[in-house]
Structure formats: C-alpha cells, structure tokens
Symmetry: C2
Subunit: 416 residues, 2 copies
C-alpha cells in the first residue's frame, strides 16, 4: 500500500489521559482511535494486525476440530437467569438495555449460555458428540476502570471456543489438546518465550482452571513462576497444599507480574444441567454434556505485544503479526526521465509482484520524518532507496541497528 | 469438510413463529440460529456465506480506494448530540445503556458521527483529501417489529463506507464510482439482474438519494421501475416534477415490490459543519469537507438471495456466495479392502487437492436423507458416488434436474 493514500498519519500530540504504553504508541502510530475510556476503534494498520492474530488463532482452532460461527451481541434475560448470571449482583459487567416491548435485553459479555442453549437443537445423542465451536466476537463489559489501553477494555475482541464432550475423560483429552494449541498460538504471535501455563482457581468440578499468563511489568496479575518447569501458579490459589499437588517448591518460585492473555475452564456438567443439555448414551441412558470454555483476548494480545516489543522510538512488531512485512522508504526521489517510474516505484512493484506485503512511503517528506515514522509504526524490515543507494536497497531490521546494501534479488530473498 | 463433523444438522421442526421463507430455510438447513426476534447467530455454513459476500464487497471497496477499519459499538452521547441524533424523538432505534459512572452510552445503529469525529485527527489540509473508509460492522437497531428473518433485524451486519471529499464536484465523481462498484457487487453476488438504482428522497443538499432495490415480492418497499432504462423511483418521491427531471414517463413504469439492499447518500457539508470537520484549501481558505455514506446490508443481501433462489426443496445458492462449491454424497459405501479408502474418500481428497471447496456427506444415512439434505442446503453442484456410479461420479447442478456421469478429471474441470 502507498503511504500517501493511507488516511492515518502519525500523531505528535495525543490525549494526556492515555497512560499506557500500548495506547500511546498505537494511537500515535495510527493503529487505534480512542472512542472513550476502554473503547478503541481499529484503524487500517490496526485492523491488519488484528486479522493476522485472528488467522493464527483460527488455524490452530480449526486444527483441533473447532468450527467457526458467530453468536449475537443481544442477549435474552431468561437464558442467563437459568444459570443465575443475569443479576448484577452475580455478574457486575453487564450492559443492559430494553426492547421497544419493554423487555430487558443484555449485551453479551460472554457466550456460554447462548451457545449451550443453541446446542439443545443439535445435541441429543452420543453420536452428536463431541462438538467444538468458536467465534471471534466483540464482548462488551461494563468495567469501572479502563486505564490500560487495549489490555482491558469495555469493548474488546475475543476468541472463545466451547467444547461439548461425552465424558470427563473425553473432555480431559480435548482440554490437553487445547493447551497445546494455545501454546502454539502464543508462540506464533511472538509471545511464546514469556507465556506460561498458570494454575488458577477452578470451579465446582476441578480444583484448578488454567490461565495463560504473559510476563509483563504492566500486567494486572501476580503469578508465581517456576521457570525451569515452565508453569506458574496464580496468587489466588497459592497455598502449601496447592504447591504440593503441583510438585512446586516455594523457594523455586519467582513472583512476577503478568497479563492473562488466555484462559481455559472446565465447567464439568454444571452448566449443561442448569440449561438442560443432555444426551442419550449408547446404553440409552440420559447423561449431561461436559462443557469447557477456552478464551483468548485478541485485542489484549495485540496490546501485550506492543508493551513487550517497543523501544523509545516506537513499536517493534514480530513478523507474524506485523501489518506489513516491509516498509519501503523512498528518500528524495531521483528525477527520472518523463513518465518512467522512480527507483522506489520499481522496488514497490517488484515486491508486490512477489506478494510481499509492503507499505511504500511515497510521501513528500524529509528523510528524518520518514525514518521517525518507520520507527514508530514498527514494521519488521525497513528498505530505503535514495540517491545514495543507487541501484541497490539499504535494508535494516527494526530490531537491529545494522543496515546492509542489497540488490533487488537479495531483498526479495530476505523477505520471502 | 466432512459433514459427519459438522455439528449442525438439518432440522425438521422449527419454531412456528418463523414466517419468512429466508428464516425458515436458513434455520432448517443449519445456516442460522434465532436468538430472539430479529436477532440471529450465524452457524458455520451461514458464516461461510457471509464471508463470501463480504469478500466480494471488500474487493470492490478496495478497488475504489476504500480503506477498511473497525469502529466501535459503544457510542458517546455528546457526539450524537452535536447533530441532534441522540434524542429518541429524532432517532427511534437507539439501544442505550449506562456506564458505571452513570453516564449514558449508546450502541451504534450507524457510524457517520464517530467516523467524522475521528477524521478531525487526520483531516486538516486539502492534502489530506479525499479519504474513503469503510467497515463491516454489527449494527444494533431497536426495531419494534422484526418478522422478516434476516431481511430486517435488531442486530445485523452492514458494510458502511464514508467518503470525505474536497468539493461537491470531487464528491460527485466518487459517488458515480461508488454506484458502479455497487452494481458490480450486486452482479457478483447473483442479484445483478434484479437490482436497480432507485431514486429516493435526498436531504438538504441533494434532491435525490440513491437506493439499490432488489425486486422481491416479500420486499418492504414499493418502487416504480422503468425496465428499459434500468432505473426506478421510490414511492415517496414519485411526482410529476420528479418524473420530468428523471426523464421518466408514468405510463412506462411498473409498480413492483422490492427490498433495499444498498443505499448511498450525500450529506453535503451539513454534518462536517455540525461536527467541525474543515480543511484549509490551497489558497489558505477554511472549507467544510463534503461527506457521503454508502451502505450495503450484508445479512440482508444473504436473506434476499435465499428469498429469490429457492424451490420447495430448499435453497439454491449462486456459486459466488455458496458455502461450498460442491456437495459430495457417498451412498452406501462399497465395502473396500481393509484400510483402503472408499470411493467417496478418494474423490474427496482429489477435490481438496485441487482446492475445490467440498462438503463431503460421509454420514451413515439413507440415500433419500442425503439427497433431501443436499437439496435443502443448496450447494450449487451435487456429486454422487455409489455402487451404481462405479469409478465415475454422477453430477448435477442444484438448479437443474438433469445429471450426468463423469470421470474424476471431468469433475474437476467442471468445478474449477
């Protein structure tokens, strides 16, 4: 894409009430726009990152048998009343409104209830199980405080998968697959090294649920990490008993701050029993379905990536989620014979022909302005053409300071 | 995809309060699930259709310079108060709620105001114009009645593009491009023959706005169509004066029912003036930006397609938006030597190798049940393998009754 045609520009002055690094950098670089506290729009660059993250998640969810669907934002009161989660005393993040008929209606903050209710249409026999369904859906949560940019918002994008299994054993088997898929996802988006399976409080059916916590000084959570074993335990379940069960030793644990980027939860048969989701087993016996839920905060992951990968000049995107692979900067285009393309144009076309995603800075700005914008936006590779580079291209990784001169063929090879 | 793994099944009994053909067929076939009146979830088959329609729209929007972004559902009262569209007396479809702080918050039924407000950050000079931005966004509208399935809902998916232009002339030029893009889109999704540019009431700046009306007996609108000229006029603006201006003759017009699948609207500079969106022109003069909006109801288009393309057995999807290209039915799999694949498996793999989107009915059902499901789901091609077809495949278009026997090579050629 030509940067001259991108309607966003980098911003020098942004609202002083943005306190978080992720919101500051993403706003200045033109990835997001703040609609209100905790509510952000995703501009073209930002939407490209979101779609990259979604695609990494989608492929892993499909690989473990997930089927993508899209539930609704508007929610019926009676459905959530069945599990006692309509009342604001029990769920304090509801946005509620009213239909013209006067009936209460909720805005979805989660989807276990409506998906499970829908499954009543499709699950009645053991032959219908298992079923794994997921969606990418905007969640609305009426949070009192939302000061950490896109790490915690009133409106955010989440991937939520729900598993419906025949038995606790079948559930357990899928649950393990989901853990592996999650670890591959966090690896895929560049957070693998710093994301740890973390034991947190379970519900009626299990002692523990599992979180995926990414180490982050700005994170909301405190976890106790055994680096050698690559697992952690959440502050709320830290006890001698829990440590013994998990074969962890207190003196080997580091207290670290982290952000919860994913979580998986075993509902057992509790919700199915509340909502009437049973199946008839091979012997003709009526059995409740075992339910699990598996969340990843897509926009939170994007925010965590920015918190972790930036320097004082701007963002440093991991290649897998970057809005473009390469930022091509043309400095003071060489005057060329009438109607023949500039060197920048030539390189731009050559990269596009190779289906390399390129943002081409063809704007009439100084070299300094272009370099500063490139550092702020944070595309993994920068390629510069100028009088100085002649028929070669100067390339540099955003994460490194060394540059080198290559010819077009080498450039394409490096980026492919 | 293997149909044995698809969690949805065709349903025989659906709620008696579904009155529209689109909701009945889409629900029975497993494309949608009704959450409440006018609020539908999109199941795997339905989401595939939605994504196909979105991609056709996206490509045309990109081709005319559109940049995709994603605005928010939560909306600030003060923004809409500026244009006097917060008050329920002026906009009677708001869903409203409250933040924890007690402040009012709206759920987006449209996005002109927030997008225009955001543009204050990016438009200040003539150099920043034009800008064309669009999104695919869930709109929430508190409609009193919602009885026509996905043709009109309280929650629906819309593509909305907004154009910001330097002048009325520049606006007009883009507006014409948008009309052409819309006609290509309706052609692309299979509605070209029956969709007509229709003159409707304008606003303060133009006498007419433009709708795209698709002929449909179940449509909500009445339009007057000149088939030879391929344009129509909406009932609300039908007058002798309007007919004269449009060079139409009353006696040449047909009164027909139609559904509004798209609309484009010229706001002139009214909204920019209300919201303070000005630019400095080349002579240093402060000028208001000219705004246009361009909508297509994505889920409505899906509903209209079903209303138009079905028979008493089920849906007949146009190839461009079908969830799969071919429905492969294996009837009573031939017993094959241990561990060697059935004929159906072989054909399934061959089609997948060619990247042909195939739904493979590998379920243990009778031929009659499989044929009935295939007709209901409405994939454009049906391919049958059975003892009778031997090493060939019996193929048939959903829209035709004649079938023919082909070999695998011919099958792939026909579907590619």
């Amino acid at each position: 894409m030509r940067q001259s045609q991108l309607f966003t520009k980098t911003l020098k002055n942004i609202s002083a009430d943005e306190q978080s690094v992720n919101a500051k950098l993403l706003t200045r670089a033109g990835f997001i726009h703040k609609e209100m506290a905790g509510v952000y729009a995703y501009l073209p660059l930002g939407l490209r990152v979101i779609e990259k993250i979604k695609q990494i998640v989608r492929e892993e969810m499909n690989a473990i048998g997930g089927q993508e669907l899209l539930m609704t934002s508007l929610q019926r009161k009676e459905l959530w009343a069945k599990t006692d989660r309509w009342d604001d005393k029990n769920v304090d993040v509801w946005f509620k409104s009213r239909l013209k008929t006067g009936a209460d209606v909720g805005l979805a903050w989660s989807h276990e209830e409506p998906i499970t209710d829908m499954m009543l249409n499709y699950i009645s026999s053991y032959r219908d199980l298992p079923a794994y369904v997921y969606q990418f859906q905007t969640k609305l949560r009426n949070e009192l405080r939302a000061k950490s940019g896109i790490l915690r918002g009133k409106e955010f994008l989440m991937k939520d998968l729900y598993s419906y299994s025949l038995s606790a054993e079948a559930h357990e088997e899928f649950y393990k697959k989901a853990i592996d898929a999650y670890l591959r996802i966090f690896g895929g988006v560049g957070l693998g090294k710093d994301t740890f399976l973390t034991f947190a409080s379970g519900g009626a059916f299990t002692q523990f649920s599992h979180e995926f916590q990414t180490l982050l000084d700005e994170g909301e959570d405190v976890i106790y990490l055994d680096r050698s074993k690559k697992i952690a335990i959440n502050k709320e379940v830290l006890s001698d008993k829990a440590l013994e069960q998990l074969d962890l030793k207190r003196k080997e644990l580091e207290e670290v701050r982290a952000s919860e980027t994913g979580n998986i939860f075993n509902f057992g048969t509790a919700k199915s029993e509340q909502m009437g989701l049973y199946y008839i087993d091979e012997k003709g016996k009526k059995m409740p379905v075992v339910l699990g839920s598996y969340g990843i905060g897509i926009t939170r992951v994007m925010g965590v990536i920015v918190e972790k990968f930036h320097d004082d000049k701007g963002i440093i995107w991991p290649e897998s989620v970057a809005p473009f692979q390469v930022h091509l900067l043309e400095l003071s285009p060489t005057p060329s014979p009438q109607s023949s393309p500039t060197r920048g144009e030539e390189v731009y076309r050559a990269l596009r022909d190779e289906e390399i995603e390129v943002l081409y800075d063809d704007r009439d700005l100084t070299a300094g302005e272009k370099f500063a914008d490139a550092d702020l936006i944070g595309i993994p590779w920068r390629a510069v053409v100028s009088k100085k580079t002649g028929d070669r291209v100067e390339i540099k990784r955003r994460s490194e300071s060394e540059s080198k001169l290559v010819d077009l063929k080498e450039l394409i090879k490096e980026l492919s």
